[in-house]
Symmetry: D3
Subunit: 168 residues, 6 copies
């Protein structure tokens, strides 16, 4: 558990010495290639899962809509998360995979950039909005759908090095 905890514990980077929220200054960093992968789960009743799987045939619009909403939301990250930097994005991919064991859907998003700071928030925003879109499209069937385990799966590139989460 210690492994994914940085040594420099001094303070939060987004809070200055007066306790005020601030955007991190990245002007002294060089742009490098960076990638982040995030994930989320959408858990629902078996009946709801069966309806989406069936309703998704033959056009697949439920999952396609969720995927597109995630891609488009990633591009709005800097407008939604107050202290995020606006970044160029070179790739946004969102996958929505049925998981009959859950039952529900596993969502993954991969975002790439060449920039002074990483794209973790873009990937996390993509899976969050994709999951919310799934909720929206199925809420007439079941209001108790839950979105779970929104998390960073990996982060590569950048000065702070790569990140892979600890084994559960």
């Amino acid at each position: 558990m210690q492994d994914n905890f940085p040594q420099n514990f001094a303070n939060l980077t987004h809070i200055d010495h007066q306790g005020q929220a601030q955007m991190v200054d990245v002007s002294d960093k060089a742009p490098t290639f960076r990638q982040a992968v995030a994930a989320a789960k959408v858990r629902m009743l078996p009946e709801t899962f069966a309806a989406i799987e069936a309703g998704n045939t033959p056009k697949g619009d439920v999952l396609a809509t969720a995927r597109l909403a995630g891609i488009m939301a990633a591009k709005q990250t800097a407008a939604l998360i107050p202290l995020c930097h606006p970044l160029p994005l070179q790739k946004i991919a969102v996958e929505v995979t049925p998981d009959p064991q859950l039952p529900g859907y596993q969502i993954h998003a991969t975002v790439k950039t060449k920039a002074e700071t990483g794209v973790e928030m873009e990937a996390l925003t993509a899976v969050s909005i994709a999951a919310l879109t799934l909720y929206d499209m199925a809420k007439a069937l079941e209001k108790s759908i839950q979105i779970e385990s929104i998390r960073l799966v990996s982060k590569t590139g950048g000065k702070s090095g790569n990140y892979f989460p600890p084994e559960p």
Copy 2:
């Protein structure tokens, strides 16, 4: 569990008979007062929680930033969720409460409208973006923070009646 599952199981309201995603037509509904409450949890390491709680003194900007991000995001719901209707909103409130047992934060959002359709998605979007903002502000300390249990807590008003989730 059956109780929160509608009788009309025929199909998904956002998918038409050709399997295409669609916005629900609410033009034959009368506007009524509606309220939705949603919740989310942000789980983190004890050290991270302690740092936010400490760093939050005396200005409290971490939690204030998350709350404001949630309020502002609720107003962007129709732009983010493809099939949501743009609605007037009469109240958006977001609470971020420390939970030392988690450890982490419990987030609640309450949204009110007088409209032809409900504001569940606005409340769910508010807690999601508030949670992502918390992640963003603490990610330099811990990348393994997880957002959990994004869920609808209650829904009142509207033709389909009130909703309270089943006992866990």
Copy 3:
């Protein structure tokens, strides 16, 4: 031709007596139900059309993406068209229909509101952005795709009465 031309020719409603662009004042109008239907054509080479039709199998994402882009764009109309009023929208539907004779696609959008002014621009914006999205997704195959005949198909409700275009 005269039939679809209003008697009051005095001046353009969006230009004041000094020749300055202005938003029409609708504060003395009562909100009524209104609907507008708009259409567009996307013309392409037979090979491009065949590729989209084939590539669209089995998930249908090309047309689904165009439809969703149109729905979402309709909600941004007041942000895009400078003098449009922000309106509540109760229904946005976009259809993209293959037309082998064109060859290409026929796009239709239907928008409904209960408001003081109509939703022609929302419907026209929906078909335009849906058409541009089709272009975007096929431009690697053919850059000479053309968008044609963006037009109002019908308008019902409102003080100025219904509109149906003259026979061609």
Copy 4:
């Protein structure tokens, strides 16, 4: 006609092997200077054209409004077209030229960037929204105004080389 059709006909770049819409990965491309020019026509009745030309004097706000709407819309392209990359833009120019023969207006947009991918969609979005704005400002006079021939006029820079449309 063959000339403007690429050899690599294998599949649509925005659709992956599962038929899902995707954003093209441009992370292995180097940023280069790129320019795109797009055009559109707005066709109207002679009376409408005369009214705009007259009403445009002396302040010219109809055409100025359309031009500005096009410039501003180009900056929103990545938010409107689901699979477009957000790009820095170094120049956006929109021209609206009266064409008494049409009768109506010819609209041209030129967009420049230094980026990993081109700005065709930005130029096409600019002419489309400029044309819709013209419609909006004249629709009280004539609802049968049509937008025609939205097309790419030229594209220079980038790996795929320059593009000029075939002779009509």
Copy 5:
């Protein structure tokens, strides 16, 4: 001076009893017609003023651009001001008047709605962005241009009654 100061001085309406920023709950208010007028001044060197006045001939695009930017910004008020309610707007008018005595420009904005809360912020946002646009278009000539006296000129309608500022 007392006259424009409300009796109920207990606390700020946007801050709850815990000192947290909040959106005012307007769900128990009835929608009524409301209007707000705001103003701003843009002061510059005589040479700059002369250049804008001259450069504005014959197309007048400097002032037209500022006016349009103000109109469009008013529609973005709820996205910019964190605790503002999203409101329907029935009229937005912006005037930019040359004032050789200043020298510079006087800007006025009038906004109307029928809603549960007023449109002061929409009018103030309109004049602010119109003024900033003027700055942007003239900053190559003079960087010392100042925007002054952004203020509410009048407010009519609503429960709190009309407001006219005290005599200076």
Copy 6:
């Protein structure tokens, strides 16, 4: 006074030879580090100032909200100011400082980029929206609050060199 006035007085850079508003072409410039600092004052009655200072304890949300609104607005500059270029931003900082002598608040914003053009408008937009947010949060107490002296404090980097305003 002459010192802050450029020699090249020929015309406004945002107006072409036909008098039409245009975006400046920066495609032949190299990206360099640039910083801009802007300022604004918010003047109010002593009672209002006292209430904000008191109400701001212990959570300080009035000033925190204004600061965040300014930071977020800076990221929307290109969407608000018609002829601004969309730019990457590497730092946005907003300070809101109580000034009992005014009485009211002094607002400063600092914005950094590495780009082909400067960030004066981003800094000016940040202070303007921060000031408007302060107004919004205190307007129930006093509607006669005024925003004054929105101005550029300094500009460094870029071809045109550094700028510091003349002594008052």
